[in-house]
């Protein structure tokens, strides 16, 4: 494993930006900024006519590192330790589970908790616990 520095101020600021984006999306479109829901609805079946807006939101997410590199001339570290097999398994579980549970870190963890939703609280505690248990098994049981 690679040690990472504790960055409370940058993390608080970045978190506030994520919150600002969630508030702006609610103000503009009246919808929850849940990335799994937005990404999953880029694929059929299509139930409404919001495709272009969802694609634009996802394009903004993908373009963010490009903007950061343009402004600061550099990108912060990104270390992906997993190999191809774990990436595929992890991707499948992340995609399936987040849609099956009606949301991910953003939809449940940020928007849901902010709306004091009990379902989102249950979901957030569950994926935190499952994530911690998985890392524990991977790092400390071998």
């Amino acid at each position: 494993m690679i040690a990472t520095p504790f960055t409370p101020l940058a993390s608080l600021l970045g978190g506030a930006m994520i919150g600002l984006a969630a508030v702006l999306l609610m103000w503009a479109t009246g919808r929850i900024a849940g990335v799994s829901g937005i990404a999953a609805r880029l694929f059929p079946p299509y139930e409404d006519r919001e495709f272009a807006g969802r694609l634009a939101f996802v394009a903004g997410l993908v373009a963010a590192p490009v903007l950061v590199r343009l402004v600061t001339g550099d990108l912060p570290a990104q270390t992906i330790a997993a190999g191809p097999a774990v990436l595929i398994l992890g991707g499948l579980l992340t995609g399936f589970g987040s849609v099956w549970g009606s949301g991910c870190t953003s939809g449940h963890g940020v928007c849901g908790l902010s709306r004091l939703s009990v379902r989102s609280l249950v979901a957030t505690m569950t994926f935190m616990a499952a994530g911690m248990a998985t890392v524990f098994v991977m790092r400390h049981w071998s």
């Binding site: 970045g14 600002l20 990335v35 694929f43 939101f57 997993a82 991707g91 589970g97 987040s98 939703s117």
Partner: protein, 155 residues
């Protein structure tokens, strides 16, 4: 116009993920690694991401939801369910395992595409496959052990 606004909002979200450190799977895994607390390798930063995001969203939502309607739409679309069904536990449990294996949740995984890493492309392709599969299964007609025969004489 609304499309451009949604692009800009996605951009703010993505920059927030990068500034906060969420876009780095190593940092996410070090946060989830509570076994690292005794060793001093636990990175508590992500609790601050959550705190910052929830604080702003809590205050912002309470103000925005007092408006008559959203700026570009005629109503607010909010989840109304309150029941705790098996899926609200099973889904996050499955997602959490995937999150713990790699360190990506859906938002940071998409933002990682813009870092230009092949690993992110592989993860996002698999993630989209999982999403499509979940929606496909959720849209299947309900399975029942008892079916009325088409021809009553068949019995």
């Amino acid at each position: 116009m609304v499309i451009l606004v949604q692009f800009a909002i996605g951009l703010i979200f993505g920059v927030g993920l990068i500034v906060s450190g969420m876009s780095n799977p190593a940092k996410v895994l070090n946060f989830l690694d509570i076994g690292g607390i005794p060793a001093g390798t636990w990175d508590a930063s992500l609790a601050f991401v959550m705190a910052g995001a929830v604080a702003v969203t809590f205050i912002g939502f309470s103000r925005v939801l007092k408006l008559a309607r959203p700026f570009f739409a005629d109503r607010f679309y909010l989840p109304t369910r309150r029941d705790i069904d098996p899926r609200i536990v099973a889904g996050p449990a499955i997602f959490g395992v995937g999150w713990g294996l790699v360190g990506f949740c859906p938002g940071p995984a998409l933002t990682a595409l813009g870092f230009g890493s092949l690993s992110a492309v592989i993860f996002v392709a698999a993630m989209c496959g999982g999403m499509v599969l979940a929606r496909f299964i959720a849209h299947l007609p309900p399975v029942s052990r008892f079916v009325t025969p088409a021809d009553p004489l068949e019995t």
